[in-house]
């Protein structure tokens, strides 16, 4: 049952059973997928940065980057990162590794569906990457794929077969994610062990629960939209394409009254909750790791649950803030801006709770230097940095200047990119012993952290300045007959240098990961002195499983200490202390 106690040779054995339906195997599979995706996505972004800094230089293995190549890089980078990194890693990797154990379950409710979810997602990734190799290459319309650009092949290179690959990939991804989300919902609802009431679940489980609810609502909508788009492209329908378009000098489709805005509504109805699908698990992980290392519960437990739920639910009604200048009714813009700014409130509560936990906690005794804690602190720092530009962009009149500029890039790369990725690093360092029975190198981890922190801020803070100067995103070059953006070239160079630093820092992580897998220090059982159940030794589980008289999580220490003296020592008070009944 417990991976921590299984010797590494068994891990390899488990890996060999590729088509296993065991959630630990699926967690590793998702992990490999996310790692492949993040390496691909990062490489693409470095190509982009290279091109922006030196537009006329040739790239190794690529040659000269044409404007359409640049847009293909942007589109694929965005799609890969949002779907296959920021959704797969927070939602699928860690939940499969620890969720059943955290609620005292023996397994997932629907292991077969769970495995299906992985293989469909893996196929989706393969189909997406295939877009690079079809005639005319990858699509160029950005990860949001607004029609008519995405609906008509003649609008540009990559909008033919490449775009079809993109749509197929997104459709598959929606299916895969829905499988995973249904499994997660059923598991959390039905598999909790005796005594594990809803209000005794770890905050990670609460965030996955909210995420699963969001996923089951929004992924089917995106799937439907993708099917409609496919239908517009190949079956002559007019859901998103109006009649009378003139593309490349040719009149297309005299009739039809499709609405390009309909796609935007459907896409962002998915697209914004998607942000919370990525961020909420990161928040849960942050709360848990913070609680563990400060030996304090993260703020008020009930308040944290309430804010998680309210962020998730508010997240469903804010999608229009991506559309302030799209032509949407200005009254709707007002409503969406109000709901958007409202999200700042529960987010503020969370940040203040984390800060208070830190303030009162025991981090000052050096615990903050542990790598999981460092990256968690990084998450909080980025969440503050990226979160605060939210209420700026949520103001429609300010957004009508900043929309689609580098300011937006800086905003979402900090809050969705860096914050979530840092939280994923924290989770990797934290839960690595569960996968391998070993610890990752702390020293390499600290180098990784500091270089990444400096690199990330050096890349994404200056983007805000470029945005304030009005520089639109998706620009392959910045020189033209009338624009003054050429003056921003030194800034672009600085961002590129920083991006290379940030990318190089990740090599330390990769080395650490590979090296520690077989050669890391062997971890003792529960190396971080955690109290959540994924760390409980097998004997404890064997003795108490489904027979616990005291809820394992609620009064973790007492329950555990009564049963197993080795698991907990008295000097570590329970970090989470949800209300006792």
């Amino acid at each position: 049952m417990k991976r921590a106690a299984i010797p590494p040779s068994t891990t390899r054995f488990a890996l060999r059973r590729i088509f296993s339906t065991h959630h630990h195997v699926i967690a590793l599979q998702y992990g490999v997928l996310a790692l492949l995706a993040v390496i691909t996505g990062t490489t693409l972004s470095l190509f982009m940065r290279f091109h922006l800094a030196w537009p006329n230089l040739q790239l190794p293995f690529w040659g000269m980057i044409r404007p359409e190549d640049y847009l293909a890089l942007v589109t694929m980078h965005g799609t890969i990162m949002v779907f296959f990194v920021l959704t797969v890693a927070p939602v699928s990797v860690w939940s499969n590794l620890v969720l059943p154990e955290q609620i005292g379950a023996r397994q997932m409710s629907l292991p077969w569906l769970n495995a299906c979810g992985f293989w469909i997602t893996a196929a989706a990734f393969a189909v997406l990457v295939a877009a690079f190799f079809v005639p005319q290459g990858a699509p160029i319309g950005g990860w949001t794929a607004y029609p008519p650009l995405s609906a008509i092949a003649a609008t540009g290179p990559g909008q033919g077969a490449g775009m079809d690959c993109w749509i197929a990939s997104i459709g598959l991804f929606c299916l895969g994610s829905s499988c995973g989300a249904i499994n997660m919902l059923v598991t959390i609802t039905r598999e909790r062990c005796k005594g594990m009431t809803l209000l005794r679940m770890p905050l990670t489980v609460w965030s996955w629960y909210t995420t699963a609810i969001l996923s089951t609502i929004v992924f089917p909508v995106l799937l439907a939209a993708a099917l409609l788009l496919l239908s517009d492209r190949h079956f002559g329908t007019h859901y998103f394409v109006p009649g009378g378009l003139i593309v490349a000098g040719k009149l297309l489709r005299q009739g039809g009254d499709g609405s390009p805005l309909l796609w935007q509504h459907l896409f962002w109805f998915f697209g914004h909750p998607e942000v919370y699908i990525a961020v909420l698990p990161a928040m849960g992980i942050t709360s848990s790791i913070l609680a563990n290392f400060t030996r304090r519960q993260p703020g008020s437990y009930k308040l944290m649950v309430a804010t998680t739920l309210s962020i998730g639910l508010l997240g469903l009604i804010v999608w229009g803030h991506h559309m302030f200048v799209s032509g949407m009714n200005p009254y709707a813009g007002m409503a969406f801006s109000l709901t958007t700014i409202a999200i700042a409130l529960p987010s503020t509560v969370k940040v203040l709770a984390w800060l208070r936990t830190l303030w009162n906690g025991q981090t000052n005794r050096g615990a903050w230097r542990a790598t999981p804690m460092l990256f968690t602190l990084g998450f909080i720092s980025f969440f503050i940095a990226g979160g605060l530009t939210g209420p700026i962009l949520a103001q429609p009149m300010l957004d009508s200047y900043l929309h689609n500029t580098y300011f937006v890039l800086g905003h979402f790369h900090l809050i969705m990119g860096m914050a979530v990725v840092f939280s994923m690093f924290a989770a990797t360092y934290y839960w690595f012993p569960l996968m391998t029975g070993r610890l990752m190198s702390e020293r390499l981890g600290q180098w990784h952290f500091w270089l990444s922190l400096i690199g990330a801020y050096a890349v994404f803070l200056p983007m805000h300045l470029a945005g304030l100067a009005g520089l639109p995103r998706h620009y392959a070059q910045m020189s033209g007959p009338t624009t003054h953006f050429g003056a921003l070239q030194p800034l672009q160079r600085e961002i590129t240098y920083s991006a290379f630093l940030l990318g190089a820092a990740q090599l330390i992580f990769l080395w650490n990961l590979v090296r520690s897998w077989d050669h890391g220090i062997v971890a003792k059982s529960d190396p971080w002195n955690a109290t959540t159940l994924e760390w409980a030794p097998p004997e404890w589980f064997a003795e108490n499983h489904r027979e616990v008289s005291v809820a394992p999580y609620v009064d973790g220490d007492r329950a555990v200490n009564a049963n197993s003296a080795q698991w907990k020592s008295e000097q570590f008070p329970a970090p989470h202390r949800p209300p006792a009944e």
């Binding site: 404007p67 160029i140 109000l338």
Partner: protein, 221 residues
């Protein structure tokens, strides 16, 4: 915008400083519970968000809830991969009929003006947006192919041009000068070079410019 940015930069610095102090603060025995501090901070931030929201909605309502005044200069903006066209209604103050099937840029009719329509004959189509200073301008935005983002950074003005729809946006230029117009919604491989220029000129200069560029059809009548 300055107020919003200044406030958020201040909160950003404050947040990072508190985070840093919380980490490096020397150890103290016993829990120091300071809930009032959290309530106070939350209250202050909430107040800040409320103030910003009221300002934001007021500004938005003033700019977008009402149409232009009746004497606003009417100009049609048409986006196409990868150019902007501007159409002035001419002396009759009416935009003539356009038909997609008549669009032929090579023949000098990039918007498909219907020559049979009298109102279309005096329509002026240019690649430069020239407006007089101090007079309100109402732009009606269209697109021939894909979605384009009409963006004049200097006027703080952005509105998408969507095929199949006409969206209006209005503004009043107050300073004579030249302002770049760019595309802010990715529209294809030439997105980065889809540029035009806004020229804000004096009233006299504007009249001269209009007279000079008046369509031949009108002059011959």
């Amino acid at each position: 915008m300055a107020v919003s940015i200044a406030a958020m930069v201040a909160v950003f610095i404050l947040g990072q400083v508190v985070l840093l102090i919380a980490i490096i603060r020397p150890a103290r025995d016993g829990a120091t519970q300071v809930p009032w501090w959290n309530v106070f901070t939350f209250g202050t931030l909430t107040l800040l968000f409320v103030v910003l929201t009221v300002r934001a909605e007021t500004l938005w309502a003033a700019n977008r809830f009402q149409g232009p005044s009746y004497d606003a200069l009417q100009v049609e903006v048409v986006g196409q991969q990868y150019a902007w066209y501007f159409r002035y209604p001419g002396t009759d103050a009416r935009f003539g009929i356009v038909r997609p099937e008549l669009v032929d840029a090579a023949a000098g009719n990039p918007l498909g003006l219907d020559a049979k329509d009298p109102a279309a004959r005096d329509d002026l189509v240019t690649s430069q947006l020239v407006v007089p200073v101090g007079r309100e301008v109402n732009l009606r935005l269209r697109s021939l192919d894909v979605i384009h983002g009409f963006f004049i950074p200097g006027m703080r003005l952005k509105q998408n041009a969507v095929p199949g729809s006409v969206f209006n946006v209005h503004f009043t230029p107050t300073e004579i000068g030249r302002y770049p117009i760019v595309c802010s919604q990715v529209c294809g491989s030439g997105h980065y070079r889809m540029e035009a220029e806004l020229r804000v000129v004096s009233l006299n200069e504007f009249s001269d410019w209009l007279a000079k560029h008046a369509p031949v059809a009108q002059v011959s009548q």
